[in-house]
């Protein structure tokens, strides 16, 4: 099953939870972990994988044949992302703003536009102990994380990882397109939060996206739980959101994390918590609707 670890707020502990889950799960069943936080992939810092595969992720960007271009401006007009500037005697393409949609090519009345692949990042894949591991990496200066995440998912599916008993995805923070790309195929979303006003604010957004918009079953992981601010718990209670795991606010956890040691390795007393989290997450999964037969 595909468990996506997301959060809304950054720095709540997504990677801590995703790596903990993957390490514990892989002891008893086939497990894969994707680091889809492609702007800052760092699960590898904890898992130390050996990479044996890499490939570039490309989007198609337009190239203008100035010999054919009449500078009519149609390409710039149809570009929803303002990636083309049509000047009286020149047409400029801003590759980093292009989403590769192809509208300019389709609409050019002169056939003056062709499309060439433009690399925006890389996929690295390998093995970390028993965990099959892959990460996406967005090239610095590129704006679009979503195609990398899409490419990462497709790679994992081609490798058969999606059929593994545990297929865990470490999502980027936020609630925009890259997060949607990770969540939309989730069986269960684990939203990691912290008991602060910031944690609560962004948790609401993440719940709104995962549960309400994408209709994914949601469980909450309360990290850095110091028992001081009850507002996140009150919100979860009111919304009927199950808190599946609590990780205390402890200096030892921060220390081991800062040393790149996975929590379940550095502090084995948390192993049970992750074992229980796997079971609780699996229990949240929507029953496969035999009647509708809609699942692809």
């Amino acid at each position: 099953m595909r468990i996506v670890v997301a959060s809304g707020k950054g720095g709540t502990g997504k990677t801590l939870v995703a790596t903990g889950l993957a390490l514990v799960a892989s002891e008893t069943a086939p497990t894969a972990l994707l680091d889809a936080d492609v702007e800052a992939p760092n699960a590898a810092l904890f898992l130390h994988p050996t990479f044996h595969h890499q490939h570039a992720v490309e989007v198609l960007t337009p190239v203008i044949d100035e010999a054919l271009c009449t500078h009519c401006g149609r390409c710039a007009e149809v570009c929803a992302f303002h990636a083309i500037a049509s000047l009286p005697d020149r047409t400029l393409v801003f590759e980093e703003m292009c989403h590769g949609c192809g509208s300019c090519t389709l609409n050019c009345p002169e056939g003056a536009i062709s499309e060439v692949p433009h690399a925006i990042g890389m996929i690295h894949a390998g093995q970390a102990g028993a965990v099959a591991f892959a990460e996406g990496e967005l090239q610095i200066g590129e704006a679009m994380a979503t195609p990398i995440i899409h490419g990462l998912s497709r790679y994992a599916e081609a490798e058969g990882w999606a059929e593994r008993e545990w297929f865990i995805v470490d999502s980027p923070p936020g609630t925009a397109c890259p997060v949607i790309e990770t969540l939309r195929e989730a069986d269960v979303a684990l939203l990691v939060t912290e008991p602060t006003p910031f944690g609560l604010h962004d948790l609401r957004l993440a719940v709104n996206l995962a549960r309400d918009v994408l209709q994914v079953p949601v469980g909450i992981v309360l990290n850095k739980d110091d028992g001081l601010d009850p507002s996140v718990e009150e919100y979860c209670e009111a919304e009927g959101l199950p808190i599946l795991m609590r990780i205390p606010y402890r200096r030892e956890i921060a220390e081991s994390y800062s040393q790149g040691r996975p929590l379940v390795v550095a502090l084995p007393e948390y192993r049970e918590g992750f074992e229980a989290l796997l079971k609780k997450a699996a229990a949240l999964r929507k029953p496969v609707a035999a009647a509708s037969g809609g699942a692809a």
């Binding site: 990636a83 400029l92 936020g174 949607i180």
Partner: protein, 140 residues
Amino acid sequence: MKVVVSSSGPGLDSEVSPIFGRCPYFVLVDTETNDAKTIVNPAISASGGAGVQSSQMLIREGAEAVIGMNVGPNAMQVFVAAGIPVYQATGGTVQQAVEALRAGTLPLLSGPTVSTDHGKGAAGGRGMGGGRGMGMGRRG
């Protein structure tokens, strides 16, 4: 010569705007006659590409020179490609900026003064984070 000034308001008496791609107005001034035409910036709320959008619009409006306080890299690249000089004002009104240009006291910019998306917050409203990423079809 027609010069365009990034402006906080309409007309010659408005203050020069500290941002470019997302400034609320542009004032196009004929330096010979001092005739002024105000253009409402259509790119003010663009989620991305405001500099590209507004700069090419100004070129199509016939601007032959540009005055701004800060100009981002994309707009700058468009003006450079079009061979249009960009001058930097330090403040004051549109009229004062045009007079300074006439007097030859405005420095010519050779590169952008700010990074991409500099004016996003300043233009009002929440512009961040929207519109990124491409729609990918669902897996069949």
